[in-house]
Point group: C2
């Protein structure tokens, strides 16, 4: 029995116990950097577990950066620098600054667009866009569900699935939202083509051109061109890397600033900061806005990816007025290319459903069915548990790499969810210039100014941790470090 051998009493799937056993041997130095780990067959015999269990355990250790496969030879412990950082090797955290309460038309779409389109370039180390590498996602398994849907339910999958969309999928989404503290039914959920469409529908439902929208600073860069396309103005609210939008700043804005029509925020796994808003803040904001009849759009794209035992509650769970709209997606957890997202529009449901029908008629049927099928299979929860650990490990490796390669004075967030690292470079650095310079050397980043309607964060950048840590990523950080030092002269 494994338990007696490995001393792992806490349960969990067998392959995780095997992985923990090997990780423990590496941690204690029994297996050292560069050393070959036991062969799959050998370990299978040692621990009396199946070959496939050991293979899965090794695959997991590989993804976490502890071991690497060498063709024709087996698995080896990676050099120390590729493993989890020790305390003190990550950069200090960035600070938060108060902001003026002035709205401004958003005119950054071209800048954002340039960065987004650059990311399509091939052969990049993709540290820019927040795109999860396919190897982290249950790609083959989902493909099997899609193939099954295509063959078995051809007539359903080729027919329109008019709004609100697949009932089976809406039931699954509603079921998952119980964990987020939301008691809603399938009838409260509407399926969308990803959370981008969900956000677009939410914004269009609650605003008219010329309205002012309060946004986090920094905020998800995809939001800003959306505001521009809808003719909306933005007012930035300072946002803490750990706790999200600053409640006092929001209060000040509502008391003394311009009339705000809606507040957009990501309280549960912030993009780009990686923070999670405490429940008390969520409740205060919900009350604050509800009492004033101001709508709130909550982007929950990273809600399932918090590194904590219990999924964070959504802000909408504290909404007593029905003015909170919750938007989410399976793009960061399952398959970006399936374009399956959802929205719980609260009291704006009729308007949102109408807009969905008018602007896009329906969401693709086969991918809705495949995701519903996959969720019903029960595999999602297992996959998420693993994905969270993987992202946490990748982020730790990334932060350590930043500490190693970037100049003194660099700061970085300590994300508690998602797969994104926000880095503040020393004063004087120009992240937009760095973006172009890095692209020329085959590395993409997301420069700070695209996260702000007013071009703040000139010396900041966001790194995507959902790429498999490797010497190539390490080298990309070294390239960035060199370019940054050159900027500092």
């Amino acid at each position: 029995m494994l338990r007696s051998v490995a001393g792992q009493g806490e349960g969990g799937p067998l392959y995780e116990q095997v992985a923990a056993h090997v990780a423990g041997l590496i941690g204690k130095g029994t297996l050292r950097a560069g050393q070959r780990v036991p062969s799959v067959r050998r370990l299978s015999e040692q621990l009396d577990v199946s070959i496939s269990t050991v293979l899965e355990a090794y695959r997991q250790l590989e993804v976490r950066g502890l071991i690497e496969a060498r063709p024709q030879s087996g698995y080896y412990v990676r050099p120390d620098y590729l493993r989890r950082p020790h305390s003190g090797t990550t950069p200090p955290e960035p600070a938060t600054r108060r902001l003026p309460l002035e709205p401004a038309p958003v005119e950054c779409a071209d800048r954002v667009m340039r960065v987004m389109l650059a990311a399509r370039q091939r052969d990049l180390v993709p540290l820019g866009a927040a795109v999860p590498a396919p190897e982290f996602l249950p790609t083959a398994e989902l493909g099997r569900h899609l193939a099954r849907a295509a063959r078995t339910f051809a007539a359903e999958t080729t027919s329109y699935d008019f709004p609100p969309g697949s009932l089976a999928l809406r039931q699954q989404v509603a079921l998952r939202l119980i964990e987020a503290g939301l008691a809603c039914g399938a009838e409260d959920v509407l399926i969308t083509s990803g959370s981008t469409e969900a956000m677009m529908l939410a914004l269009k439902a609650v605003t008219r051109p010329g309205d002012t929208v309060a946004v986090e600073s920094p905020t998800y860069y995809g939001l800003l061109p959306l505001l521009e396309a809808l003719g909306l103005e933005a007012v930035e609210v300072c946002t803490n890397p750990r706790t999200g939008m600053c409640v006092e700043s929001l209060e000040a804005l509502l008391a003394r600033g311009p009339a705000v029509k809606v507040v957009v925020l990501m309280p549960s796994g912030h993009n780009p900061l990686g923070g999670i808003m405490p429940d008390e803040h969520k409740e205060r904001i919900a009350d604050l806005l509800g009492a004033r009849g101001i709508a709130v759009i909550e982007d929950d794209t990273y809600g399932e990816l918090a590194f904590q035992p219990r999924r964070p509650r959504c802000l909408k769970a504290f909404d007593r007025h029905g003015g909170a709209i919750l938007c989410g997606s399976f793009s960061k957890t399952l398959a970006p290319g399936y374009r399956v997202g959802w929205i719980v529009p609260g009291k704006f449901r009729p308007e949102v459903q109408k807009l969905k029908l008018v602007l896009s008629l329906a969401t693709a049927s086969p991918t809705q069915q495949a995701v519903a099928d996959y969720l019903a299979s029960g595999a999602f929860e297992r996959h998420l548990r693993r994905l969270r650990r993987v992202y946490q490990d990748q982020l730790a490796l990334l932060a350590e790499g930043v500490a190693r390669h970037f100049p003194e004075g660099t700061r970085a967030t300590r994300p508690v969810g998602g797969h994104l690292l926000w880095v503040e470079l020393p004063e004087g650095c120009d992240a937009l210039a760095l973006h172009d310079q890095a692209l020329a050397e085959g590395v993409s980043i997301a420069p700070g100014p695209i996260f702000s309607a007013t071009g703040r964060f000139g010396n900041c950048l966001r790194l995507n941790g959902a790429v498999l840590w490797s010497p190539a990523v390490d080298h990309a950080l070294a390239v960035l470090g060199r370019l940054i030092r050159r900027q500092l002269g």
Copy 2:
């Protein structure tokens, strides 16, 4: 050999020759209504063709309404009234009226929405929405292509396919557009989530809220709430059932009417009228608008479904100024639920691509790949040839049914493409009321006023011919006839 038996010298697939042979026997009265047609095995021996060829021929004859299968018994010639009408049994055509040149804000979304949502009701005879019945589409074959894509290219299908979308699909679309007189490359095409999104992107790219859009009258009802959602005004231009938007009326509008920002039309297979604009008109309109720097959005959704040997040229083929935007879709020919459409935005390409990225990020990858794969297989051309004939037959049966069941004074279009029949009831009829009354009796229709920004066509309705003709459809027309007579008192 079949040729010697059936006297069919014009070639075509063998099953079509077999179908023509049997249709000929029915036409000449050799096989009469109610009579059993030769068994599959018998005909296979008679004509020296395979069993599967005869089966396919019988399936085709069934779809065309000439024969019907009776369980455990074989195929029978259908009663005469279910077959192709003879000359003189279809209603006369509706006339066209000139219109005032006044723009008006569009405020019909709620009315359109009510009709669209009603169509989701189960157990309806679906003569309302323009949704093709799955049995007319290559549902199983497409499903196989989708399943193959899901299994073979799981990583590609789960990843984002950022705008402009799948290269393979764009190549196929560009290839097909050669037939429409357009020499464009894959780089000129952008994939969208159906033509609804394509139209939305086109409108957003060329207008600002408050602008005036010239539309056909009647026009596709989905366009009107789209204009409303984008804050646009509409001016209606009278449209001839056979030749499309009236060129003289458009000239008058441009000379004496309000400033028009863009003209939207369906010159190749009009929805709801079923007409095809002559090439000279297309050229005149392209020149007229091009010279004035006015954009034109051409909805080509039915362009592949014209009942003529050669696909109609698109208006964009006559555009010398780059201001024509062509939008199309595979929703009426392959799979509405796949949400695969396309746009050729001409000089507005950068803006359209930006908007696509901002508003929806990407189109679903697996369905793009499945459609591209299906098109590359060469099956589409065969399918289209058959589909056009089927739609033409269904429309003829529908028109004959209208002549049989609707009161004297009813008029109907003679569609030369698509699957829609536009019916003008005697003065005094109220199509909106008829819509509600018919729904209560299990029949959906599309009432005339939703095809007009100003609620014209109060006594008109559109019928969907893409349902398999059957006694149930015949009965639905009888129900409508009874309700109409009741309205006339």
